[in-house]
């Protein structure tokens, strides 16, 4: 099992993703430089958090044109697994790997805190180690995390079970008070129609170590291992 973690010049969670995969899980991991055209035979691509090219214009807008993204897109089209976290989710949307877009938080402020997520679909390759309706504590840290899409796109996402994670309040309900950024329908993470690309704003790689307060992100990475190894 080989993970490839893409490093854009402004990525800043690439090392965290690397640690989660290589140290916590003990899996093979390589860093993929944004100017490279070679995925080095990885099974799973991680698009990590950060500010890919500064993201002054729109988060992820410039990153999608980088050389490595051409390979990542081809990988996804072949059915290869892509995990976009935070900035990686934004890039995946800009690159058309996932529908919709991520806009500035409705509070107009960057938001950094632990949020509660509810698992909506536990049959995807990313979420099968969770139970439906399981509640997870995972950190977020973003300024542009408000998921938007046309109404028909949202309907399709819901209808086809492509919403994987939703923000919920302390009672486990997807209320306004549980929604940290104004995302449509409290959407925190979605998969594509092929089920092989996941984008999520919360940071599972920051929730893999009991010392840091939560290990709820671990099952996502472990789940990927099961499926790819099977």
């Amino acid at each position: 099992m080989k993970f490839g973690i893409v490093t854009f010049p402004g990525s800043n969670c690439d090392a965290d993703a690397y640690h989660a995969v290589a140290e916590t899980l003990g899996e093979q991991a390589v860093r993929l430089w944004h100017k490279s055209h070679d995925l080095e035979g990885v099974d799973i691509v991680v698009l990590p958090g950060g500010f890919s090219y500064g993201d002054y214009l729109r988060a992820g807008a410039i990153a999608r044109f980088s050389p490595i993204m051409r390979e990542v897109t081809a990988h996804a089209e072949r059915g290869g697994i892509v995990l976009g976290i935070c900035n990686g989710f934004q890039i995946a949307c800009e690159a058309g790997l996932l529908p919709g877009a991520l806009m500035r938080n409705d509070t107009l402020r960057f938001v950094s805190r632990r949020v509660r997520l509810r698992v909506e679909n536990a049959s995807s390759i990313f979420s099968h180690r969770y139970r439906v309706a399981q509640l997870l504590d995972i950190p977020i840290a973003h300024g542009e995390g408000r998921y938007v899409a046309d109404e028909d796109v949202l309907e399709r996402l819901e209808g086809e079970g492509h919403v994987i994670f939703r923000y919920v309040d302390e009672n486990g309900d997807p209320t306004e008070s549980g929604n940290p950024n104004g995302s449509a329908r409290n959407i925190a993470g979605i998969i594509n129609a092929g089920g092989n690309v996941l984008g999520m704003m919360p940071h599972p790689e920051r929730a893999v170590d009991p010392l840091l307060g939560s290990t709820d992100g671990l099952a996502l990475f472990q789940g990927l291992l099961d499926r790819v190894n099977a």
């Binding site: 402020r109 950094s112 302390e170």
Partner: protein
């Protein structure tokens, strides 16, 4: 080589000299140094280097009195940042710096560039930044201008650190009318490095090339008042921006490229082009290496056309570095920078001849003999005398101030104090900061100190910033001591041994005897505390002239403390954790009320003597606490500071917002003290501990002769905070306290956008 005036440069007149901030004596000194009249470019260079910010001309003799040595100190003051060893070959670099004046002009950019600058100071030591903190002072939040400054500064701090991927994990915010016209923004950065990778910013090796790296140079932030000259007409004044704009993305590229450069072995020195840009960075590197240097301004990549040597030398454009490379390795250096989409141009050379020379192509536009241009600046010993009005304030009997009628229920007073923005939760602030990036934040903001683990070891470091301007205002010596003692207590509460400090000294105009007195005394107090607590000073920053038309800010030394935790299992939270635990108070309450937040917020009075600070007792307290923590008997530890014992108890109860704990507290042992001094007085040297093994905690305290007493028990989540002393008693439901504590800042800040109305006047740096 002969220096001739550059065509088009203004002639040197007494008025021009004055506009450059040089006194007649200083100008004479310059004439003696040169043996001739200076050129315009030379005048600009000297005005920048002899400016307070670069030269420390009013503060240096006083700073020299601070203790700076300990076996673990690898780099003391004088470098871009201080460095201490934390064992196993690892070291920590850290430094704090002010960006007060830029923030007063444009809060977002001013604060953001402050963070950018302090990050560069740390990574130029070869350290990867792992944490940021910030210490902020603003006027009262009921002013829209203050809200605008506060919101902008917080956003600027957040955006820069967030983009860099360095977690902002702690700090402090104080609101007081004293800072109305002149906010203080101090940013601290902490980095991690291998001891053997430490690099110093010393120019070395005759013939080595000097490179400008990073962003292009524009006309940003060039000092020197408004010149009446041909080159500097009104039009060119208008072209010259008053603020520098930060580019954190370029900052991030510079960080990665610089660390790679340092690692590559192709360079001998690297320094940020900070205040006074190319001039101070090159002159400082030359002075440290005791070598000559030549710079050619025509080779510096610029952003705008027609820039003069004067402008290029003094520009404060952000995200630029000066690098001394090994001769013959220029290409390798360029290759590393190209990989990060950054440019590097050779702009000069280290030379054998002991001069500081600036060329513009073939022409010599400035030349100073010797390599000590920076250190050869004038030094002043200003007059110092206490303002008698302040002595009067200190002597006032604050116990004579009658309580307000509502205070008959201390629960009212407590809730009211918790809603003081200075005491209230700062979550509104730190939610805008990425606190968890780097996956090493064991304890983020909200407790006494932040804790960052050191990956691949069992260790962690603990970080805190502290300083109480009101105390220093009322008694600078005591206030200086308390700043250090409180930060030591804060890191100790998290389980850490206090190791060393950096400090940022924010004061008014040092030429006023009353201000210089405060400065001298506060530094003396800090020095005493550092000596007793064995926390040497490894660096810092002085910011004078923090004044507005309404007067000077409170004298505000801010201490940034680094502590070391040998094993992450010792990390201790600040809040109550377990129902049924015993609550122990280390240290003793007193009847002191002077300088308290209680008096200021409830009575609008700033008077009385600040609480006494017994340094030996503080040291024993830290030792006793660390021993108790080491024995595994401490569940939580929280020190008493602003708002006193009652506020500290409420904080312990509410620390975990989702799982609060009430408590039943009996202060009967001190029932002879006045109720308000007991509850809200700010006696120093006190820590609230919760424990399942009170005997062990009491025994540890006894071994260090620290007064300690069981004062109650931790209750369940629905229980109130109930406190009694003899026949006096009050009960405060946690929901009321939490509403006050968590609601205070959001209720003011979330009301509406804050307009950037009238520009303030501020003169600090």
């Amino acid at each position: 080589m002969s220096v001739v005036p550059r065509p088009g440069d203004p002639a040197i007149t007494p008025a021009l000299v004055a506009e450059h901030g040089l006194t007649a004596d200083e100008y004479d000194r310059l004439l003696t140094l040169l043996g001739r009249e200076p050129t315009f470019t030379e005048l600009g260079i000297v005005s920048a280097l002899w400016n307070e910010h670069c030269s420390y001309k009013h503060s240096r003799p006083v700073l020299k009195t601070l203790p700076t040595r300990a076996p673990w100190v690898l780099q003391g003051p004088g470098e871009n940042a201080g460095v201490i060893s934390v064992g196993d070959g690892w070291a920590v670099a850290f430094k704090i710096e002010s960006h007060n004046h830029p923030t007063a002009v444009e809060p977002y950019q001013g604060a953001a560039t402050g963070v950018g600058g302090i990050l560069r100071d740390v990574f130029t030591m070869g350290a990867r930044p792992i944490a940021l903190l910030n210490s902020l002072r603003f006027g009262a939040l009921d002013s829209p201008r203050v809200r605008y400054l506060f919101a902008g500064a917080v956003k600027g701090i957040g955006d820069y650190g967030n983009c860099m991927g360095v977690p902002t994990v702690g700090g402090e915010v104080v609101f007081d009318p004293a800072y109305e016209g002149n906010p203080l923004v101090n940013a601290m950065c902490v980095g991690l490095l291998r001891e053997d990778e430490l690099i110093r910013a010393e120019a070395q090796g005759i013939g080595n090339p000097i490179l400008a790296v990073g962003a292009r140079t524009g006309r940003d932030g060039i000092h020197g008042a408004s010149f009446a000259s041909e080159d500097l007409t009104e039009a060119s004044e208008a072209k010259r921006p008053r603020v520098q704009v930060g580019d954190p993305f370029t900052g991030k590229l510079l960080l990665e490229a610089s660390l790679e450069l340092i690692n590559s072995g192709h360079i001998v020195a690297i320094q940020d082009m900070g205040a006074a840009g190319l001039t101070s960075s090159s002159a400082e590197m030359a002075a440290r290496g005791d070598v000559g240097i030549v710079i050619d301004t025509s080779r510096v990549p610029v952003r705008e056309e027609g820039m003069t040597p004067y402008e290029i030398l003094l520009s404060e454009s952000q995200e630029r570095m000066l690098v001394v490379a090994i001769r013959g390795r220029e290409e390798q250096v360029r290759e590393i920078l190209t990989r990060w989409d950054l440019a590097a141009e050779v702009v000069g050379e280290v030379i054998a001849e002991p001069v500081y020379r600036v060329m513009e192509g073939e022409r010599v536009v400035a030349e100073f003999p010797g390599s000590r241009l920076v250190t050869d600046c004038p030094v002043y010993y200003p007059e110092a005398a206490e303002d008698p009005a302040i002595a009067g304030l200190r002597e006032r009997d604050v116990h004579a101030i009658p309580p307000r009628a509502e205070e008959s229920d201390p629960a009212w007073t407590l809730a009211r104090l918790l809603s003081s923005p200075t005491i209230a939760s700062k979550e509104w602030v730190y939610r805008q900061y990425d606190t968890t990036v780097g996956t090493s934040t064991v304890v983020g903001p909200g407790g006494d100190a932040a804790v960052i683990r050191l990956r691949d070891t069992r260790k962690a470091i603990s970080l805190s910033t502290d300083g109480n301007g009101r105390y220093v205002h009322l008694d600078p010596r005591v206030g200086g001591r308390i700043a250090v003692a409180e930060s030591a207590r804060n890191v100790a509460c998290s389980g850490a041994r206090p190791m060393a400090i950096t400090n940022c000294l924010n004061f008014g105009n040092p030429k006023r005897p009353s201000v210089f007195y405060q400065f001298r005394e506060a530094v003396a107090g800090m020095g005493e505390a550092c000596t007793v607590l064995q926390t040497p000073v490894t660096g810092g920053n002085v910011s004078f002239y923090n004044e507005s038309p309404t007067g000077a800010v409170y004298p505000t030394p801010v201490v940034g403390m680094v502590g070391l935790i040998d094993d992450v299992s010792y990390v201790t939270p600040s809040g109550f954790q377990r129902t049924g635990d015993t609550v122990v108070l280390l240290g003793d309450p007193t009847d002191e009320l002077g300088g308290s937040e209680y008096l200021a917020w409830i009575h609008g009075v700033v008077a009385g003597a600040p609480p006494a600070c017994d340094l030996e007792a503080e040291r024993a307290l830290v030792e006793a606490l660390l021993e108790a923590i080491g024995s595994g008997s401490v569940t939580s530890a929280h020190d008493c500071s602003d708002g006193g014992l009652a506020v500290a108890l409420a904080e312990c109860a509410m620390a975990d917002r989702e799982r609060p704990h009430g408590a039943t507290i009996d202060l009967g042992a001190w029932s002879d003290l006045s109720w308000r001094a007991l509850l809200f007085g700010e006696a120093q040297g006190r820590i609230i501990v919760s424990t399942a093994d009170a005997d062990a905690v009491l025994a540890a305290a006894a071994r260090h002769s620290v007064p300690a007493r069981v004062i109650g028990t931790v209750d369940g989540p629905d229980a109130p905070l109930s406190v009694s002393a003899g026949n006096r008693r009050f009960v405060a439901p946690l929901s009321d306290l939490a509403a006050a504590y968590h609601g205070a800042i959001p209720s003011v800040m979330d009301r509406s956008a804050q307009p950037p109305t009238a520009q303030p006047v501020a003169t600090g740096a």
